[in-house]
């Protein structure tokens, strides 16, 4: 039950955040989508031992988070929820890669380095996806999908699924509450009720789909889900994409922390 409430809360939070009107929110959705894709590709393209050169990529989520006035806590919480899965697989790296190297006099096994690189990458990629949806919202993202020529049938279906998740989740929450009141002290749904409980919900879902379709037809549905126009891509939107992409390229080609570090340590000497 808490699961459902959490999911609903999470979706509504991201919806609310997407309704803000900051400079980042106003950037064309297609440009934000492309920036995110390039960012993700660059992040995962770093080798498993390259932790240092990965660090400048922290700039992107930090800047977007600050400029879009998003709360840090819920997004950090989301990342923390996902990290255990990654840790589960990554933690085996130190077990399989024992080769040791020395960093400032401390012996570290390579396995730990690859583990940390996976850990950081997970944090960055998860944040980037969340920031995209928290600054864009599902409807505007769908219009970006349409501009990318993703077939309308798929986009329409995606939007409908998204729209009805909260409706069906609430329905499931009611069903589960009713069940738990009639079957106290049960951990899950009893085997005898598996088919009827989920099956009833399917029947209701089919009837609901029929009603939805009729309602759509009555409102003049012609096969297109109107999201209020695409909006023109302005020079500033292009500049946003171009600026970030060139930053990612520089971060990929040059080891920025190493350059800063050699500069600083050189000055000290």
């Amino acid at each position: 039950m808490s699961n459902i409430i959490n999911s609903l809360y999470n979706m509504r939070l991201l919806d609310d955040l997407a309704r803000k009107e900051t400079a980042i929110h106003k950037i064309h959705p297609l440009m934000k989508l492309l920036t995110t894709v390039v960012y993700l590709t660059v992040v995962v393209s770093f080798g498993k031992y390259e932790i240092g050169s990965l660090l400048p990529l922290f700039f992107y989520p930090v800047m977007v988070l600050a400029l879009a006035e998003l709360p840090v806590k819920p997004i950090l919480l989301r990342i923390l929820l996902v990290e255990p899965l990654i840790i589960g697989i990554g933690i085996l790296n130190p077990l399989f890669d024992h080769q040791v190297f020395y960093l400032g006099g401390i012996a570290i096994s390579r396995g730990w380095v690859t583990f940390f690189s996976i850990f950081i990458k997970c944090g960055l990629t998860v944040t980037a996806a969340l920031l995209l949806i928290a600054t864009t919202g599902m409807d505007r993202l769908a219009s970006a999908f349409r501009m990318l020529k993703i077939p309308r049938l798929f986009v329409l279906q995606l939007l409908l699924t998204y729209r009805y998740i909260s409706v069906l989740m609430e329905e499931v929450a009611r069903i589960l509450r009713a069940y738990s009141l009639r079957a106290p002290e049960h951990k899950g749904i009893h085997r005898n009720a598996w088919g009827s409980l989920a099956g009833q919900l399917i029947l209701r879902t089919f009837d609901r789909a029929q009603r939805v379709y009729e309602a759509m037809c009555l409102r003049g549905f012609t096969g297109e889900y109107n999201t209020g126009g695409y909006g023109k891509i302005k020079v500033w939107d292009f500049a946003y994409l171009l600026g970030w992409v060139s930053f990612f390229a520089i971060a990929k080609i040059y080891n920025i922390p190493m350059l800063i570090g050699s500069l600083l340590t050189g000055v000290v000497r």
Binding site: L14, K48, V167, L168, K187, I253
Partner: protein
């Protein structure tokens, strides 16, 4: 079973994206050809149903634990393979965007592992073959059970292959398989039990829903040879294009080939492979990332046949540590000062 971005390489992610997009485009074409648009809202609402149904915990008799529905097979059984696959794709897209369940780059992998195998292999080749003789509770049970288990086993094996080709974990192939397959056998049994219970219930209450679904024809009709050659060509082309992003010296694919075949690269025949590799070496903006590696390290890398390992002389490691800390501090400072300025501005206007 959702794969995260952090565990895949751009090459694997890209190839799987293109493959999945191809399957999706084909499914859309099939649906548009032989179905009415009535099915669109049904697909949408059914997607939401799977989402919600995943929250239901079904307690497994005699074990004290509980499992939940995955959804691929039940979607295929209720909507047919094409609509089922597309619905699964949209569910996974929303999960990736809102819940960080599986990444955006890994979306192609996830849709393929969770959607393709159950909708296009397990459903037409197992489920429908058994059901063809006519519906009965027992046949539904057998069909759903077998199809769910095989579909999930294939999906789990897909996860193993995609992860190993990406080369991000050090997990040996055997260990990974030994971990993944038995876990997914248990998950497959639960999936089969729940799916058969639900399908049997719906079939008894509203048989027309179940029987209607099976008229969407599946792979049986089209030549599998054509599909396979199509995918192979797509995979080769995208593999060539995306591997310019490839991260390490011998990347995951090469690494696993190296380990399994004992040679760094399988002997490249003339023709398309040759051309592709020429194009690749011309377009690669970081050919082998050798531009900053000193000769000494290059030699080392060549001897070990592993990813180039950054030099660990005292001076560079200190510079790296200082520089890394500075970079992070600068990022944090930039973020905080922007928030501070914004807050102050708001206070002034308020």
């Amino acid at each position: 079973m959702h794969m995260a971005d952090a565990l895949i390489s751009p090459a694997v992610g890209g190839v799987m994206w293109v493959t999945t997009a191809g399957v999706a485009a084909y499914s859309i074409k099939k649906i548009q050809n032989d179905l009415d648009e009535k099915k669109i809202p049904l697909m949408g609402v059914m997607g939401a149903f799977i989402f919600a149904a995943q929250m239901i915990n079904f307690s497994i008799p005699a074990t004290g634990s509980s499992g939940h529905l995955g959804g691929g097979l039940i979607l295929a059984a209720l909507l047919g393979p094409y609509a089922g696959f597309l619905t699964m794709a949209s569910i996974l897209t929303i999960q990736a965007l809102f819940f960080a369940d599986g990444g955006l780059l890994a979306l192609g992998c996830n849709v393929f592992n969770l959607g393709f195998f159950s909708c296009f292999i397990a459903y037409p080749l197992i489920y429908r073959r058994i059901i063809q003789k006519g519906y009965s509770t027992r046949r539904i049970f057998g069909a759903a059970m077998l199809a769910a288990i095989i579909g999930l086993q294939m999906g789990a094996f897909g996860v193993v292959l995609e992860t190993l080709f990406s080369g991000k974990t050090e997990l040996p192939f055997g260990t990974f398989v030994a971990l993944m397959q038995p876990i997914h056998l248990a998950i497959g049994v639960v999936e089969g039990l729940v799916t058969s219970a639900v399908v049997a219930f719906v079939w008894k209450a509203r048989p027309e829903i179940i029987e209607k679904a099976s008229f969407g024809e599946a792979i049986g009709n089209i030549s599998i040879k054509k599909v396979v050659t199509g995918f192979a060509i797509i995979a080769i082309i995208t593999g060539g294009v995306f591997s310019w992003f490839a991260s390490a010296n011998p990347d995951g694919l090469e690494w696993s080939m190296f380990k399994t075949a004992g040679i760094e690269e399988l002997e490249a025949p003339d023709g398309i492979h040759q051309t592709m590799s020429e194009i690749q070496s011309k377009t690669a903006f970081l050919p082998d990332y050798g531009f900053k590696v000193s000769e000494n390290e290059q030699e080392q890398g060549a001897v070990e046949g592993e990813e180039s390992w950054p030099a660990v002389s005292g001076g560079t490691s200190v510079a790296g540590l200082v520089g890394g800390a500075m970079t992070l501090a600068m990022a944090a400072l930039a973020g905080m000062s922007i928030s501070l300025v914004k807050r102050r501005k708001k206070r002034l206007t308020a």
